[in-house]
């Protein structure tokens, strides 16, 4: 299998995760909760894959998310690219085989992303306590979920690539 084929499979798995998250939010809405897992969708591209291929896939994920959210056009596209950049920047400090580093980077990225969206999309609610109450609940729950899932998710994708004949751990980090 070619590298493009392997990357397409990784992209499709991320796409599946994106739909599962949507389904999870249908259930979570019964309790007025929303899980944001944007960092999970971007972390593998930002930390393990090379720049040229991963940036295109992240931009595609951003366009997908943009089309279904009623945010101003391009919010998720730009947001996912900056989130990817955040993980690329993190490569200077973290060790890819250390699960605490991966989990912390994912949780920090997710929390930062929600805070940025909360400030950008507040529109007159900035001073309302209830607004920040809601944002804080979503932030804590989403960050916790991302913290718990980021390492198993990256491990799963690495193993998948390994099965497809690409040992990503043997490659040097591009940092």
């Amino acid at each position: 299998m070619t590298d493009n084929g392997r990357l397409s499979i990784i992209f499709l798995l991320n796409l599946a995760l994106y739909f599962i998250a949507g389904e999870l939010n249908v259930f979570a809405s019964n309790w007025a909760i929303h899980f944001h897992i944007d960092a999970l969708l971007v972390i593998f591209f930002g930390i393990y894959l090379n720049r040229s291929s991963s940036v295109i896939l992240v931009a595609l994920m951003g366009l997908l998310a943009d089309s279904v959210h009623p945010a101003p056009m391009g919010t998720y596209f730009a947001g996912y690219l900056f989130l990817w950049l955040f993980f690329v920047w993190f490569q200077r400090r973290l060790q890819r085989h250390n699960q605490s580093h991966i989990r912390s980077a994912a949780a920090a990225g997710q929390a930062l992303y929600i805070i940025c969206l909360s400030v950008l999309l507040s529109k007159g609610q900035f001073t309302h306590l209830l607004y920040w109450n809601r944002v804080l609940t979503d932030l804590l729950l989403s960050t916790l979920l991302v913290f718990l899932l980021s390492w198993p998710w990256c491990q799963f994708l690495k193993r998948m690539l390994h099965t497809l004949g690409w040992n990503i751990e043997a490659q040097m980090s591009p940092r």
Binding site: G22, I33, V55, D66, S67, V68, P70, Y131
Partner: protein, 282 residues
């Protein structure tokens, strides 16, 4: 690109380049991309909702026969009550037509109910929306009202080929004209900030000072046809308390919305029918 740039700096330049390209892309192309990506996802969301229905079907099948018989008896009673109400409704309809002809009045806009399943719910701090399993293929258009057994759900904001997005009345961006039950003076309703783990709420403003509400005697806030979207008299929510404005002319307060709003599974879109005058002309 200079060779001495680090991997991270090159990545930053790449992102800036992509954002610049996005910035200069014509809006028409961006809009087309958005629609294309939305339509690309729609079949998957629809398939997932069918899977949910299937799971619900199998869980319902596990009910015992006595449960089903009991439910059947309840349904028969409800059917009888609705049949009686239909007769009254027909009679009132005839009376309205007679009065309209008599006074030469324009008729109200009539609607047909397009029932649709909910396939996605996005209830965040920034927006509260639903995606339903019917779109242009059923004549649904942006701006149409969406209702359920508890009253108003919201209004259609965008329509795809087979799906439509509905902005809920609990969404912070939602605005509508309303009035209290038994009082025709218009008031302003808007969606509120909705904390987690609690029922949704809204906000009512410009309420005349003589309208009194108490905790023990709350007032029902209903939709108004003034906005042109909703028919009169459908429930928006209940108001338990209001505060007077500093000048004492108006009041404002919190509107408690139906708690089923955040778990609604099926809604009806009010698709306007051609008015009777137009029908007569044809």
């Amino acid at each position: 690109m200079p060779r001495n740039l680090s991997y991270q700096a090159k990545s930053l330049l790449l992102v800036l380049l992509l954002l610049l390209a996005w910035w200069f892309t014509p809006v028409l192309f961006k809009r087309w991309t958005s629609v294309a990506f939305q339509e690309f996802q729609a079949p998957t969301w629809t398939a997932l909702s069918y899977l949910r229905d299937l799971r619900s079907y199998w869980s319902t099948r596990s009910h015992s026969k006595s449960d089903l018989i009991e439910a059947g008896v309840d349904m028969a009673r409800l059917n009888a009550a609705y049949a009686l109400r239909n007769q009254q409704s027909d009679h009132l309809e005839t009376e309205i037509r007679r009065l309209e002809d008599f006074f030469n009045m324009p008729s109200y806009t009539e609607h047909r109910y397009e029932v649709a399943r909910v396939i996605r719910r996005d209830l965040t701090a920034w927006w509260q929306s639903l995606v339903i399993r019917k779109g242009m293929n059923y004549g649904i258009a942006p701006g149409q009202a969406v209702v359920f057994s508890g009253g108003i759900v919201g209004r259609v904001t965008s329509v795809g080929a087979y799906t439509a997005t509905v902005e809920l009345i609990s969404s912070p961006k939602f605005r509508s004209a309303a009035h209290f039950e038994g009082d025709n003076r218009p008031v302003e309703f808007r969606g509120g900030n909705n904390p987690s783990l609690k029922a949704a709420s809204g906000f009512v403003a410009t309420v005349p000072a003589d309208i009194k509400v108490e905790l023990k005697a709350p007032k029902r806030l209903t939709s108004s046809r003034l906005g042109g979207t909703f028919p009169d008299g459908l429930t928006l929510g209940w108001v338990y308390h209001m505060d007077a404005s500093p000048d004492g002319l108006f009041q404002s307060g919190k509107v408690m919305l139906d708690p089923r709003l955040k778990s609604v599974r099926e809604v009806a879109v009010l698709v306007p029918l051609e008015s009777r005058d137009e029908e007569d002309l044809q």
